[in-house]
């Protein structure tokens, strides 16, 4: 052993561990500082891309915070708390609102963004942002075009007293033609498909009536 330290020299141990930890701290802080801006930009890009993907035709967007009495426009993207994104066309007409949804999947939480059109009262697009589903099976909720077609015009009409959805979003029965508010699941990925339906249902039950009620708060400028 090339170690020249005397045995049981506690000072040497404390000194070594202390120095190495200090060096480690300096290196990690440098790496963090060097990459923080770029990582934030990447995440921002990912969410922005998703917003435009779930609201077809949208060319500009605005971020709103969800509060007790509706939505307030956010200029600063670093704000914490639940957020929704409104998508507009070039002339500033509201095309839809992108909302976040999440539910427990097969292995971990599935997080998705979906576009809600308050005029047509439909879900007009859905994109899974985060998932740890089984590759090749459950992960088809991200890639399967058949499955994603479900979210082209999924009926989420608000009921008469404006408190919840008229019909809950759910998976259609096996072999049956899905109703306008039902999702045709992926065979071999039932748990994951159900999780997506549950996530959208949970979020839309709460958010769709709220968005519909405060529709005038979504302004482009």
């Amino acid at each position: 052993m090339s170690n020249t330290m005397p045995k049981n020299d506690w000072f040497a141990m404390v000194r070594t561990l202390g120095m190495v930890s200090l060096l480690s701290g300096v290196l990690i802080v440098m790496a963090y500082e060097g990459t923080a801006a770029r990582i934030a930009w990447n995440k921002q890009q990912a969410t922005e891309a998703a917003v435009f993907a779930v609201i077809p035709g949208a060319v500009q967007k605005a971020t709103f915070a969800v509060g007790q009495d509706g939505f307030t426009r956010l200029e600063n993207h670093d704000e914490k708390g639940p957020k929704v994104y409104a998508g507009f066309d070039a002339s500033g007409t509201l095309l839809g609102v992108a909302l976040e949804a999440s539910a427990q999947g097969y292995q971990d939480t599935i997080r998705a963004l979906y576009g809600y059109d308050p005029v047509k009262q439909c879900i007009i697009g859905m994109k899974v942002l985060e998932n740890r589903e089984t590759p090749g099976l459950g992960s088809k909720i991200v890639t399967s075009e058949e499955f994603l077609k479900n979210f082209g015009a999924l009926n989420v009409s608000v009921n008469a007293d404006g408190s919840a959805l008229e019909h809950p979003i759910e998976l259609s029965k096996r072999g049956m033609k899905p109703e306008s508010w039902q999702i045709d699941g992926i065979s071999g990925a039932t748990v994951s498909s159900k999780a997506v339906a549950r996530a959208l249902n949970e979020s839309a039950q709460r958010m769709a009536p709220l968005v519909k009620k405060h529709l005038d708060q979504f302004t482009v400028k």
Partner: protein
């Protein structure tokens, strides 16, 4: 005395130190170390390459630092010190991958952080870098990393071709090997496929080694 010490006392050449990890002591196919990432991230070639590069960075940097400091590290706290050093470089790699691509970061998931407990890295720090010069340690780390990446690629290419019918999917260079009617073997992308393919490669390499040694005894 370990094998490495014996070799060191005989003074192996730089080249043989480097080549050691590639073939004779390949971390995956010979020492069967680091099985967690080997089985987990080899469902696509791009994941295997990213994992290989991340591990290379951590292994080379930590080996260099351990070799630099090995005279100052008391024996009693050496494992704790190695782990702090390794964890530092893993954290740096974690940030860098997030900065390069969130897609790759998502695909590798928890396995980036788990490089900390990859036995290849702690194993090289303990068995090699803690006893050798910086130059030799870096060579050894590069050899081992290339051997590890090679092994990941061996598994990933078979699994991706059979399980998805592609090579380099999720990259701009994606190649579709079969027609649209190809039915992928989904099991190859699932954990059991990892075990099957690993077993197949271990068998192949063990067979090649055995044939080599039996030939060697015949000629001598």
């Amino acid at each position: 005395m370990t094998i490495e010490q014996q070799k060191f006392s005989r003074g192996p050449s730089d080249l043989s130190t480097f080549l050691n990890g590639l073939w004779r002591e390949n971390p995956v196919f010979v020492m069967v170390l680091g099985m967690c990432p080997v089985l987990a991230v080899t469902n696509a070639v791009v994941n295997a390459i990213s994992m290989g590069l991340a591990t290379t960075f951590v292994l080379v940097c930590s080996s260099a630092l351990v070799a630099m400091l090995h005279n100052f590290i008391p024996k009693q706290v050496r494992i704790a010190t190695y782990i702090v050093i390794i964890a530092t470089f893993v954290t740096i790699v974690d940030y860098v991958i997030q900065a390069i691509s969130l897609k790759i970061y998502g695909a590798l998931g928890a396995y980036i952080q788990l490089i900390v407990v990859n036995c290849i890295i702690l194993g090289r720090a303990e068995a090699f870098a803690g006893k050798n010069t910086v130059r030799k340690s870096i060579l050894d780390a590069f050899g081992m990393s290339i051997g590890f990446t090679f092994a990941l690629l061996c598994l990933a290419s078979v699994r991706e071709i059979l399980g998805n019918g592609t090579l380099f999917c999720n990259t701009p260079f994606v190649i579709h090997l079969f027609g649209p009617h190809f039915e992928p073997w989904a099991i190859m992308l699932l954990p059991p496929g990892g075990f099957f393919v690993l077993a197949f490669w271990l068998l192949l390499f063990a067979w090649i080694r055995q044939r080599k040694t039996s030939k060697g005894t015949l000629t001598s």
